[in-house]
């Protein structure tokens, strides 16, 4: 089998495209903000991934899309993000059996078998708690960049404690903690623990087996990953680009379909 395979993930916050070759090696990978017009975004993210891979549209043998706006992405097929996450992580870490995906708009805990087939999952999407959204809110209050959150939080010695898990109420409580003299690193550490608690709660009823992979935008935050490791008493694998897993998985699904699997 020859040719290339395209996976597109149009998420709430960012859109990703991955091109893989017939041996399922990544040839191009792109992340851009989602914006408001998903069809335009999908075209833009696809074109950029093709350009990176150094190929033209006809070289794509099959494509698949996922994510909240994936149905408007103009791909050959659409698949749920849970399935794509599992396939992408399976390709990256063949020994991973549990995935914690922390996205901008919601989180999911997924368990899978050695082939990357989903066994069980829990999704939090009705509530912003447990998603990376809280980190954006807190970064804005503390006037720091998203990238600075992880390294800064790791310096914490006395994590702030919070009485609520609601993102809206936490915003107020963070301001109260600042006025009480809590240091930014301690506030971030406390917030990370709050998210880790919520994720741990989501894991209830799902039999978690190692290896653990943490993916999604939240996995870029080293402090959050550490808080989750501590809370669940596990060691987490984090892909080089954790935001690409669903798009990579979609590309793998397209590849699989084409191969008649």
């Amino acid at each position: 089998m020859s040719g290339y395979f395209l996976g597109i993930d149009i998420g709430a916050a960012s859109s990703k495209a991955v091109v893989i070759d017939s041996r399922r090696m990544i040839a191009g990978a792109v992340v851009i903000p989602s914006g408001t017009n998903y069809a335009t975004t999908a075209a833009a993210v696809r074109d950029e991934a093709l350009r990176q891979a150094g190929i033209q549209s006809p070289a794509i043998s099959a494509s698949a899309a996922t994510g909240i706006g994936g149905r408007n992405a103009g791909a050959d097929s659409y698949h749920g993000v849970i399935i794509c996450d599992a396939r992408g992580v399976n390709l990256t870490f063949p020994n991973a059996r549990t995935i914690i995906d922390i996205g901008g708009q919601g989180s999911q805990v997924i368990t899978m078998d050695s082939e990357g087939r989903v066994i069980n999952f829990n999704v939090s999407e009705i509530c912003a708690t447990g998603s990376a959204r809280l980190l954006q809110v807190v970064a804005r209050i503390l006037q720091i960049g998203i990238d600075e959150i992880g390294p800064l939080s790791l310096k914490s010695t006395k994590p702030s404690s919070f009485s609520t898990s609601c993102t809206v109420f936490l915003e107020t409580e963070v301001i109260t903690r600042i006025s009480q003299g809590d240091r930014p690193e301690d506030i971030l550490d406390g917030i990370h623990r709050s998210i880790a608690d919520k994720i741990s709660g989501m894991s209830r009823g799902v039999a978690l087996e190692k290896d653990f992979a943490v993916i999604g935008g939240g996995a870029l935050d080293s402090g959050l990953v550490q808080a989750i490791e501590e809370k669940l008493a596990v060691t987490a694998l984090v892909p080089e680009n954790p935001r690409l897993m669903a798009a990579l998985g979609a590309a793998a699904v397209a590849h699989g379909h084409h191969a008649g699997k």
């Binding site: 408001t36 708009q105 009705i126 509530c127 912003a128 609601c166 993102t167 809206v168 109420f169 006025s179």
Partner: protein
């Protein structure tokens, strides 16, 4: 009795997450005055200020206030209170004093919501939400901020719509994004606002239905001052709701009436002098450190 009941006054003070309320009643339980102010960060200072204001307004000197009960989320921060009582008890008392037949009371505050079942003036059951901003006044504040409107203004505009837009998101954060998307889709502001009130109400009514909603229903709390909210509540419940003239002060009113009952009980038991002494100590603290 050595105390002349007609010269005694009683106060209830309710320090809420957003607003502080105080009510003064006479020996007959009649309200002589009330004051409402923003709570802010310094509860003690605020408690003193609203107390001072209400006594001025009611024309009652503090040393004639025989008993004070504090309630609400900041009730521990009222140095001159004789006793603290939970807001549920005070609230039920206050609502039942205004509407003796009340069976269901729904209170939506700045950061919480409560549903009380009341029978014969007594609290029989309750449910509260203070975990999630959806279904509290905060949801409305976030919507108002997002749209750049005042809270009252938002209520008035919403009344022009009979076709509310459905807000699907439960979470306040996601609803905020949904409001923006609906606007960008070109939905009329009036319909979006009506939809916002329906969304908050639906959330609270879901809580209320767990306890079975029986009429008469009384709707209180700061949020009940909003015309859009009252309309939405009647729509979602499918039954008329009673709203007190000043829906913010039912907790403080209940506390004041409980203060009267408590003081009368102490007088009857011959234990009132001790309480009087405590009150004067509190008065010194109030006047010396209060400002």
């Amino acid at each position: 009795m050595e105390y002349e009941a007609s010269k005694l006054f009683f106060a209830g003070i309710d320090i809420g997450s957003t607003m502080s309320k105080v009510v003064v009643v006479d020996a007959g339980g009649k309200m002589l005055g009330y004051v409402v102010g923003q709570t802010g960060a310094e509860h003690r200072r605020r408690a003193n200020k609203v107390m001072e204001d209400v006594l001025l307004k009611a024309g009652v000197p503090l040393d004639q206030v025989a008993y004070i009960i504090s309630t609400g989320y900041g009730r521990v921060n009222v140095p001159f209170a004789d006793r603290q009582v939970t807001e549920l008890t005070c609230h039920a008392k206050g609502v039942a004093s205004l509407f003796p037949d009340v069976r269901t009371a729904i209170d939506i505050g700045g950061q919480d919501a409560k549903v009380l079942k009341i029978k014969g003036g007594r609290l029989t059951d309750f449910l509260t939400n203070d975990k999630c901003a959806a279904g509290t006044g905060r949801f409305l504040e976030v919507a108002a901020e997002t749209l750049g409107l005042g809270l009252n203004e938002m209520g008035q505009i919403s009344l022009q719509s009979d076709t509310p837009v459905k807000i699907n998101s439960l979470c306040t954060i996601f609803a905020q994004q949904e409001i923006i998307s609906r606007l960008s889709e070109g939905q009329p502001l009036t319909d979006i606002l009506a939809g916002v009130y329906i969304a908050v109400t639906t959330r609270v009514v879901k809580l209320a239905r767990q306890l079975k909603v029986e009429p008469p229903v009384v709707f209180t709390g700061g949020v009940a001052k909003n015309a859009g909210m009252v309309k939405a509540m009647q729509t979602v419940l499918g039954t008329p709701v009673l709203v007190p003239e000043e829906p913010l002060i039912t907790g403080a009113l209940g506390a004041a009436i409980l203060a009267r009952d408590e003081a009368f009980k102490l007088v009857k038991d011959g234990r009132y002098t001790m309480e009087k002494k405590q009150l004067s100590e509190a008065y010194i603290e109030f006047t010396e450190k209060g400002r």
